[in-house]
Symmetry: D3
Subunit: 309 residues, 6 copies
């Protein structure tokens, strides 16, 4: 049985019952689900979903099945009220070597089309699908923490630049590899990386020369917020950070993510206007008074129970 | 069995085989499909798909099932290579009375949410779904001709403003009804109507007073391109216009629709840049030389066979 | 005692008491207030404010006092819960001959500044003030119906293009006069007129030649929605239209105005997103269920009492 | 000797001497210049330049030489202080049949490139050049009045939508012909036509069906401002309108054109800001006081001498 | 007597006399004014205004009076020709602990409104007022240097991100605190912080976890330009930097601030166009030739007297 | 004989022959051309063009001839298929001291114009020309590596911020000098610098105080990607980096530059759409399969021959 559910249908069910219909996918806390072939989805702690690239024997290379599974996975997470934050990492020895070259060249060779225009037409749909693979991370209102160890190459970089926070291990390295295979990176890196790190000179250099960037430079240029000694330390750190986030009001957290992304793509005045329009309802949440009360009593937000959303 | 197929999955199948997997829906030319409960989808002629609002005994009022069926229907049309143009009309005595009020109030009453913020959150997803119902028409690259007879009220107006060309009968009338039920129209009319007709004074008057506009005014203000004596004449006219479009190069036609919509939402310089980038491949179609050849031989484009796309 | 109140201060008082502090200005229904020297503000009927250009012996020519009075007047109207719609017209024989030329040339002659840059600096603030004179109409969430008789020249056109709906008499005429006095119109006409009427060729012609446009052409090009035989008929028509609007839910009406203006300045997808974010709270108004109930009982919205806002 | 001069070089000469270096092109008022092979440029009256499509025996069909001549011609007009307004028409029996099909297909056949990408790269530059052919009309600060008689087809429509004002004869007709030759119109029509006329339904119909539109519909939809009985009457009308414009302050007229185009491509608030920044210097022209003085003395602006610019 | 003066009125007086009407507020150099209850405004040196958060016994927590005083204060500074640069700091032991929680919760509890929509409406005006509190800093053309010591929490961060330059002491720390009280930061941080510092990963982490950031990280991520040993050193440094700025041409300095902010919110081509339009008058200042002369004579700009503006 | 060729003409020749007409300028690898008076253009290695500021005895100060030579030079490079990457540096002891003050003041003094408006009009064209001097670097699809040693002042900074990658020597320093000569920097720095480095506080400080920034700070803030011990080492490093880029597919490299710049000026969703439309043809290059093949065979891209473009 395929998992994919029409987004529209699913949402409407969800909206009116307040019960998540997609619960079966991520059935038990800590339990791995086997429904995806390229991803593993678990719930390491309350409110936290862990998505793992799960083809460790293939260096977590990204194949076509991965594209649609990402869309399904994040569409489900988006409407799963029990999930408040996501950790994204790679199983095995490294994060990901990016797209599977065999897969790519075979795809390109097989593209249908009676003339150049028709092949282009199909290629555009193909690229758009590829872009959606990573844009779903951004459209999902739950913050996503990328935790990278070892190699993070090509589409791996596309993936992590669509996440909200990036952590890595000392041995991590990053490579915008696309020019090496004859193409301008087209599923997100050229669009998001310049907004993610502070130096445009560095962005251009990385994208034009495909050179490797190691963890210390990734930290100093702002690609990652923190570097950990090894994967274990990083996963513990990611979990701790995720717990911090999961313990806070989901109204506050998800409103923050949505407005951060909105303001990236709009002017400051437009973004302030959107923010005011957003919060005119969101400030009516009980969470504000609960949180303020807790703060005045010197309690941590983690001690306050907030309804799911 | 529900028809809905995950867009991502479906497209990828489609792209690599060149064969439409969704053919079963619109099985035979002229034959009605029974898969949708609120829509009838037929193929009155080669290359032409006819979508009909199909709850004539309920004045084609729009219920929730309609929302997801529209998304499914137009997602399928978008990738159906045999469809080159769409006619959209209403079965029975009128086009549509818009949203079903009972349905709406019951939906609003049942919306889940522990506080105002959470109800708002769910309402936003609800409205976004409603918007998608009509935006799919615009995202579909095939031109859509709306053919309106009798009443076209509320969401009916939202629907037709998302179409590319509008025709109507002498007895047609239009009403932006939303202020009458206490809300600002939120699924497209306020966004698209001012770009569809030439007088902002008239748009404001219609939206703020909910007064009816009859066919002659709809013609003179530019909402419709043509008025026909009755439904039969209009459907014949729509079919004729659709045939004109279906007989031309789909590379030209669909590129035209996509770029017209792009340029509505972007500045002229940005739109010219996009157009040049679009046509750098599309001009390599065989259709240009075939068409130019035909033109020089004084043949009609309709006499030239163009590959599907 | 000057009336002007700092907007910030005034609003905060207002927000927390629900009582309008500015009531004294428009004290009694039908009674003219004498506080403004260039405007007359009355309340001809419940929920309707009538603002009149009130220097009839000076052809309602616009002087500097008019600029600040417009800002004060519309800032007050914006927060006056008893006002739901505005009618804007001119006292005496005509709407307005626009800026007072003596005033303008004297202003320009007296502009301070030690060099060209400093004069420019002051001129920019001067122009910005002039623009604000008319932009306040647009920032005010209550719909404004302009009712024009006789001449409407220069800044008169700037004024009416910032209104939501335009009506005029048979004898009305319009003139974008600015090129005749050696300047490009800089307080709104060049920005708003092309969005108000349907023909850019006509806009350019009017703005470049300063020719007069009479009421029939104003109607056919969409500048006005309706032409009336004379001023009396027009004022009655304006009042009737205003009553239609005042009788409807202010949540619906003001949300409609705000979103119509928003969507003029943003792309359709951005405007749909803003609309959904707007209505996620506004749909929770009691007005929807009240209105829907009334509609199902075949009552007019005018029969339903809606709280002020 | 080729006429083309590097824009940069030419301008700088011009700026510092106040003397037009390009005068030799349009040597004597009324005298035709022979420098262009596809255009005739004359000066029918003081301040007025008349540009004519000048291949009457070839139906003024547009060939490649026309592309670069248009750029040269309008770059010169842009900096020619003696030109204050332009009339654009076609010599012979009709305005233009648009692109020369032979020329186009031969161009496309000969496009160099080792693979699809490289052909696309060259095609993009080719299209961009074609777009520049018409965009120069818009970048030129002098208003351009298009005067159309007989057929105006394909690129002819691209051309006139880039003009500021459009006039036509009773026998004129317009055809967005591109879909008939297998391509989406890519040099301006899809970008500018929807901003030029009031009905999007009509725009789509014209662009998707390539049907002819005659002068009466062109007038009622706003494509043209005025229809004349025949070419002679139209040219007289165009000249009269041009004289009106040429007689007014060039500071006012050219500032008006520039700001009208700016505001088409930007939001109203952005356009108002630009306008204020524009006029902070332009209002310091002597033309304002001269014009105001004349107005107060009931003189026509035409009686006031304004310096060239 | 309240200080607030209608902006429009005040400006017009100012423009034509060249004399600052608001001088009484900041009466003597170095003398503190007592007119504001939450701010202290002094003039430590010629051309420099020092604004201090002045509720040291309340940790400079921000109450409602602060909101309107900020607007009044910066509106006055904006038009005070004697002020060329502003230093903004906090009196007492720390910069600011941000919004007063008691104040906030009491405000939210008391918000008027008959239903959710009307409460939302009032909340939106409330948030918009809050945003204006900090946006006035940005709208003021004089550069503002924020000097931060000790805690800078919540709205404190909103405030400093609206300043042009940020300095801090070694003991300073910053906290985007809003998620801790159940809300998405809505008065500027989410909109401005990502444009102020170079790492989006860090921005998200700070905003989603509310963790403290200390001065060294603030320096390395670019939030501040310089870290000083203690408050005294910082204030000296701020004063020195302010003197540098105050000594330069106000035409150059204020044009720089305005265009830096403009270009943040617009594309590079649009910003270049605006800049050219700005400087076409501003380059006519005497300051350019004076400065160039001084530079050629190897004098410092500080030795050149420039007129106020 | 002047070199400048009308861009339009030149391109069309080029497009259809696949042969570079401009070859004579950069005639022999390693050979300097003498055609420019302010620039030296050589070809140090296959695919690499070296442009040098070449008035070493005048500190490479920028004069008016430089403006037009830059436009000519980069317009030629843009269409020169043998050039795949550019290195930009300064001859002699330093990079550039920026604009020549004598030149500037003399230009400004000589500007023609009968009144302030007309002088402004000419100034605007003058500034626009100046902006084009540097914008051509950005419009050229070949990546440009700036290599800076010694002083880089004023317009020198404008120049390098328009390059893609910046390198410098240990002794390099940078100064946004414009406020020191009484003007807001108007040819690129205020528009591009904030997008090039990560700290807005630092940008404002540099632009408002004109202080010098040395190489270590330039590296840590991201202005440059790498600092070298001396000029020789830097030029070797630049050449090595240029070789890396020149060895890769020009389809990939130039598509990367164009899309990086596009995404700087547009939202992420718009940039993704453009990217997909770009790559729908570019992915059809042979370079992808060649590169993928090489990658699978563990060969370097440098070993793969790619056609010019």
């Amino acid at each position: 049985v395929r998992l994919t559910v029409a987004r529209n249908q699913d949402l409407s069910a969800d909206l009116f019952t307040g019960v998540c219909q997609t619960g079966s996918v991520m059935s038990s806390a800590g339990g791995s689900t086997t429904r995806f072939t390229t991803l593993s989805v678990t719930r390491p702690a309350d409110g936290i979903t862990h998505v793992e690239l799960n083809r460790p024997d293939k260096s977590n290379a990204m194949i076509r099945a991965f594209w649609s599974e990402m869309v399904d996975c994040f569409n489900q997470i988006a409407v799963d009220p029990r999930c408040r934050v996501v950790i994204f990492s790679g199983a095995g020895k490294l994060f990901s070597t990016g797209i599977d070259l065999m897969d790519l060249t075979s795809d390109i060779r097989q593209l249908a089309g009676d003339d150049v225009a028709r092949v282009s037409w199909n290629l555009r749909r193909f690229i758009t699908m590829g872009q959606e693979t990573f844009s779903v991370i951004e459209k999902c209102p739950k913050p996503v923490i990328a935790a990278v160890h070892g190699a993070c190459i090509g589409e791996g970089v596309d993936l992590i630049t669509a996440c909200d926070i990036r952590l890595c291990t000392q041995d991590a390295w990053f490579q915008v590899k696309e020019v090496d295979i004859g193409l301008a990176a087209d599923v997100g890196t050229l669009q998001r990386l310049p907004r993610v790190i502070g130096s445009r000179s560095l962005v251009s250099e990385l994208a034009l020369t495909a050179r490797k960037m190691f963890s210390d430079e990734a930290k100093s240029c702002g690609l990652v917020s923190k570097v950990f000694a090894d994967k274990e330390a990083m996963m513990a750190g990611a979990l701790e950070m995720a717990s911090e986030i999961a313990g806070r009001s989901p109204v506050a957290v998800q409103g923050t993510k949505i407005n951060l992304i909105y303001s990236r793509d709009h002017s400051v005045p437009d973004s302030l206007d959107y923010m005011a329009t957003w919060n005119m309802s969101m400030l009516q949440t009980h969470d504000v008074l609960k949180s303020a009360q807790a703060a005045m009593e010197k309690k941590s937000p983690a001690d306050v129970p907030f309804s799911n959303m």
